[in-house]
Symmetry: C2
Subunit: 257 residues, 2 copies
Amino acid sequence: MLDDVNFEWLEELIRAAGDIALRHFRQVKTARKADNTVVTVADGEVEAFLRDALLQAYPADSLLGEEFGIRGGQSGRLWAVDPIDGTASYAAGLPVWGVSIGILCHLEPVAGIFFMPLLDELYVCDGCDALFNERPIQANDDSHIDDESFLTVTSAAHRKYRIDFIGKTRALGSTAANICYVARGTAVAALLGRPSLWDIAGVLPILRMAGGDLRYLSGRPFDLAVLGDGRRCLDPVLAGAPWALEYFSQRIEVLQK
Amino acid sequence: MLDDVNFEWLEELIRAAGDIALRHFRQVKTARKADNTVVTVADGEVEAFLRDALLQAYPADSLLGEEFGIRGGQSGRLWAVDPIDGTASYAAGLPVWGVSIGILCHLEPVAGIFFMPLLDELYVCDGCDALFNERPIQANDDSHIDDESFLTVTSAAHRKYRIDFIGKTRALGSTAANICYVARGTAVAALLGRPSLWDIAGVLPILRMAGGDLRYLSGRPFDLAVLGDGRRCLDPVLAGAPWALEYFSQRIEVLQK
């Protein structure tokens, strides 16, 4: 299902999308969406740019974007686009945000790409390898924890969770970036809140190829299929290597969903 | 006391220091210091570089650095150097860290400069203005708080504080950066833990010139003089505009110092 996907072209495309976002950076005007989250002019411009390019190249495919919703095709392949993952961080002039594109076949994520323009960090899974700036990466499979170990958390963690952890917590502003920090073995795990399909579709293949996975904090197995229409996860989600999913699911208590 | 300080030269110097740190970035080896915090080769190299340059230019002054301690002069002026503020963040390959230089006269901070090399963000107070990349900045003097407002916190916030706040918390990795986010009006406040003189000396003049200040969470007035020998603050510290210092001192409970 990936034979006709040119990953070099996809990398050029996501870098061009990143340039659009960078042009607006630090002079951002925000508005509120129906769900009360923040959106910027750049979100719409980047998504329109990617949507046009992807549907022109792959007219039989479907495309789901955070801003403009779904456009259905017949191929069984879906492109999930988050034009700016970490919009609030972007709007505040903070550095951690990026453009995410996931490829799903019958709602199974098979490849993805995530690019942070300001930091020039490119994460790719082309179906064979998980790469960070062209180098193979791997999630942390050593279960040693000390005070320098870090868990990434959402910006609502202070009111939603009680976290029993001797290490550091970092709230950096982007769900996709948090997952990539796990995939490259920097963060031991990520507490993601309740993401939508576009937040995770681009980076889940990277995480899995690097030896990690997602899991509901409640213990229920993670099921991407229910997110296909744009709904958010019902429960908070953890990202990590298998030992870390087990470790943190026992040490994080949900105070408020 | 600032007549003989050339801020253009100081900007060139801190950019050159940033280049040293950037050369080691993402190939960092860490060690532990006596206080068990992380240190890298770059911390020592950057501090030695700045120490040599500053003491050559101002031989009668004193210099306090995070890594090599104090070197006393007779002028009553002290340079406080943090070669890499946010070492753990730097060592983990995260973006928020920077080089900080503060100028104190009889332990009163009068000017400072903070540079984040990866992000190309330069914050300066030359005694007259507070500038972010050459533009004047101001702390947020509007006391409106909503779910998009953000408070920066330390990476130990999940175990040390109970925070009653409807907005976002962000733990980005650098005390000096957290203070600059307040000074430029992006963050409403910063919860700093227990910083040392070098963590805050470079950016406190920037914060004050932008209309903000520091205060102990306990309500005691902030006193920099006790930090002159390198000791850390005894209590957690807040940074913000006056209304924000009042607001958050009533909403943050210390669980563990």
